[in-house]
């Protein structure tokens, strides 16, 4: 009885191997089909349809007609709340991403230490990300409520602020800050847990060697942790940026644009035109306006991921 190696080495084995490989490739494509079908039906088609709608004068129950870039021109030259929403979206995404990144990293580094009830604490810190966004945002809405704000109540009783405290959603600045606080609270665990997973793949002997060489904690972090975390960091940043750019639930539930449209982001403004306003073409234009920018962002991140360390 020959070994497998013997059998493979016999004449004709190459042909068999290539036939098997071809069959495997076909099977691979076959297995991919359901995923591709789902992506086409639920992602590509809606996106292309949205793109088409943005070039039309479509309204509810009226497919409209092709009007080229007129909707985009209208948004950038006439629709003032759109410009505010555009600015807010960048501000909202930029500020929250920086905080989520920083706090998520701190969270991951702390959770990577050994301490009592470690697993329980890890699970508990994931709660903001697990609770349905609508529920947690409604809870935050109550916490910032001008009449019954527990945040203000605490601040007043700890003598940090004077009664009655800030009217969080009543002023343009503080309303946007409140939105950012809720977004950071909710998004931080995603960063933390992803970084923690990345941290646990870094070999401990690298740190031991660094310590032997006299590297400080900071140096270990900069020269070992950050480079080793780079792939995770880039992917998390990319996903989080896209999700934050498109965030609808938190701004819609907390303020829905109030006060005076100062807290609209592109997602809520698109909804405003498309659903209550019935102008689907305009709503679609607002919602896909960021596509070119996000496409560049995704392409850039993927290129960075490919580049060797």
């Amino acid at each position: 009885m020959g070994t497998i190696a013997d059998r493979v080495a016999t004449p004709g084995a190459g042909r068999i191997r290539s036939r098997l490989a071809a069959r495997e490739a076909r099977l691979g494509y076959l297995l991919l089909l359901p995923t591709v079908a789902v992506l086409v039906v639920f992602l590509a088609w809606p996106f292309l349809f949205g793109l088409w709608l943005s070039l039309t004068s479509a309204e509810l129950q009226d497919p409209g007609r092709f009007i080229g870039l007129a909707n985009y021109k209208f948004e950038f030259t006439v629709d003032r709340p759109f410009l505010q929403a555009f600015t807010n979206t960048f501000l909202y995404t930029g500020v929250t991403t920086v905080f989520k990144l920083g706090l998520g990293m701190v969270m991951a580094l702390l959770l990577n230490q050994v301490f009592p009830l470690q697993r329980f604490v890890r699970a508990a810190l994931l709660l903001p990300w697990i609770i349905p966004t609508v529920l947690s945002t409604l809870a935050w809405k109550w916490m910032f409520d001008p009449t019954f704000s527990v945040v203000n109540w605490l601040g007043v009783h700890l003598h940090l602020i004077t009664y009655p405290g800030p009217n969080w959603f009543g002023n343009t600045g503080s309303a946007l800050v409140a939105l950012m606080i809720v977004n950071v609270w909710r998004g931080m665990p995603f960063y933390g847990i992803s970084f923690l997973a990345g941290l646990q793949t870094i070999p401990t002997d690298l740190y031991e060697a660094a310590r032997v060489d006299g590297a400080s904690r900071w140096q270990q972090f900069i020269y070992i942790t950050v480079p080793k975390l780079r792939p995770v960091l880039l992917v998390v940043l990319l996903l989080s940026t896209i999700l934050t750019f498109a965030d609808f639930q938190v701004p819609f539930i907390l303020t829905n644009g109030a006060p005076f449209n100062s807290t609209h982001v592109l997602a809520t403004w698109a909804y405003q035109w498309g659903v209550p306003g019935g102008a689907i073409g305009l709503g679609a234009a607002v919602s896909v306006v960021l596509f070119p920018l996000l496409a560049v962002l995704v392409a850039g991140t993927l290129l960075l991921l490919r580049r060797p360390e």
Binding site: S57, E59, L60, Q61, D62, F74, V78, D79, R80, P81, D145, P146, T147, F148, N167, W168, F169, G170, A175, T255, N256, G257, A258, P259, F260, N261, Q272, V275, P276, G277, G278, A279, I280
Partner: protein
């Protein structure tokens, strides 16, 4: 162009309307069909003592189909017992005619999203409660119910002006008028007396004076939303604008008219009122002023009757020291705005006739009066026959509810004096008037009014003067 053979006067709108051959034939056909409608009208609670037969045409009473299933979508009523009675009547209709009726209820702020989805998908509830001017937004999916409205006007008299304007699109009824939710001021009589005020102010100037006196006495303020509240904000700031002579758009519905000295006068009044002591909340949504009142944080607020009714029927904290007052008048008179609900039968419904029959059943005078009685005056009827509703005028009527009845007639709609349209509905859902006041009232009434007016004008132009 219609094949015009003459003209007639539309009795509802008093406008000259072309009288076409098709309309003539339609009216003649309906007249013939109407001769046979007497017994069926009776079945709908009609028959007999019709108080008005001024309808422009005769009618054909829709017949419910035994075995049909109907879904009706509406808001969650602020007076829970009203929902219970509404559902009871639907079930009563169901058991009488062998129809399965399901009433779906969602919060009012979610209703439009679900409606838009149903309209776009051509699928969903058979009947949808249309708030404000939605029939103008969703016309293509709203079944023509002119015949049913004519049946009702024969029995119940003319349709209230605002319900009529919202329900009728290009001369065709796209919704059956259902109700008015009157908005009046609810206030604390004990606080007002402490501040030396013995009656609810009748003018906006007296109102600002009252706000000042409450503030000077260190009492909770008069407060109102100036934010994106679909009810409380619109019902406050539109009447303030109108009663000073201001308007969003000209009566042609095509050109923005907000940039005017009348608008500035309205803003000037509002800024003065805030400086005196009125507290406005740009962040408040519709439930917020209710909560603040029940929590003893404010002295007065503009709302539907739910604050008073819940104090009276449930909480009993301040019911003895709560009264209600009519919206104050401005230099140009008394203007009010109320929530308006009408029911549309959706075109995609496979059970349109049954749906129409259900709506007629719900609007039957006896049934409807049971509903308003249980709602305690939170609702007012949209037909002339309901103007003397016992809930407001009967021997057991609560005198404190009278203000809610008095604000119905002076009511107008967002975008007035332009007729309701897709554009007025868009301007309303973008809260342009409320935002203009809100910006002007920042920093304790010292906001930049000029820039607020110009921004409102720019936004209105973007809607009304946008090329189709």
């Amino acid at each position: 162009m219609p094949d015009s053979a003459g003209e007639f006067i539309d009795p509802e709108r008093r406008l000259w309307v072309p009288w076409t051959r098709r309309k003539f034939l339609g009216a003649a056909g309906l007249t013939a069909a109407g001769l046979a409608a007497g017994p069926l009208l009776e079945a709908c609670g009609g028959g007999g003592s019709s108080q008005s037969s001024s309808s422009p045409s005769s009618t054909k009473v829709p017949q419910p189909r035994s075995g049909a299933s109907i879904r009706l979508l509406q808001w969650v009523h602020f007076v829970p017992a009203a929902d219970t009675e509404f559902i009871r009547q639907c079930e009563e209709f169901g058991s009488k005619y062998g129809v399965k009726v399901a009433v779906e209820r969602i919060t009012a702020d979610q209703l439009q999203t679900k409606t838009a989805a149903a309209v776009e998908a051509s699928s969903g509830p058979d009947i949808i409660q249309m708030q404000y001017g939605w029939p103008h937004l969703y016309t293509s999916q709203c079944e023509d119910v002119t015949n049913e409205v004519n049946i009702l006007t024969q029995k119940l008299g003319a349709v209230a002006q605002v319900n009529d304007s919202f329900s009728k699109v290009d001369g065709v009824y796209r919704a059956v008028p259902f109700t008015v939710v009157p908005n009046a001021w609810t206030y604390r009589t004990d606080y007002f007396q402490k501040a030396g005020l013995n009656a609810w102010p009748k003018t906006w100037d007296a109102f600002a004076d009252a706000a000042g006196k409450l503030k000077a006495a260190g009492l909770p303020p008069i407060s109102q939303s100036v934010g994106h509240a679909y009810g409380d904000s619109l019902t406050m700031w539109n009447p303030v604008l109108w009663s000073h002579g201001g308007k969003e758009v000209n009566s042609d519905g095509k050109s923005a008219a907000i940039n005017s000295k009348e608008t500035r006068a309205a803003i000037k009044w509002a800024q003065g009122a805030v400086k005196a002591g009125l507290v406005v909340h740009p962040e408040w949504l519709d439930p917020d002023n209710n909560q603040a009142y029940h929590a003893d944080r404010i002295s007065a607020t503009l709302n539907g009757a739910s604050i008073y009714l819940r104090e009276k029927n449930e909480f009993h904290h301040f019911d003895k020291v709560t009264d209600n007052g009519v919206v104050p008048a401005g230099p140009k008179g008394l203007f009010t705005m109320n929530l308006i609900f009408n029911h549309a039968v959706m075109k995609y419904s496979p059970e349109k006739e049954t749906a129409k029959a259900l709506l007629l059943y719900l609007m039957d005078k006896d049934n409807y009066l049971k509903y308003t009685k249980i709602a305690g005056g939170y609702n007012a009827g949209p037909f002339a026959a309901f103007e003397n509703d016992p809930v407001f005028f009967g021997p057991d009527a609560d005198p404190k509810m009278k203000s809610f009845q008095q604000v119905v007639k002076p009511g107008k709609w967002p975008g007035w004096p332009a007729p309701p349209s897709k554009q007025t509905a868009q301007a309303q859902t973008q809260y342009i008037v409320a935002d203009m006041f809100g910006k002007s009232l920042q920093n304790n009434g010292a906001g930049d009014a000029e820039s607020a007016v110009k921004e409102a004008e720019s936004r209105l132009k973007a809607i009304f003067e946008r090329p189709a």
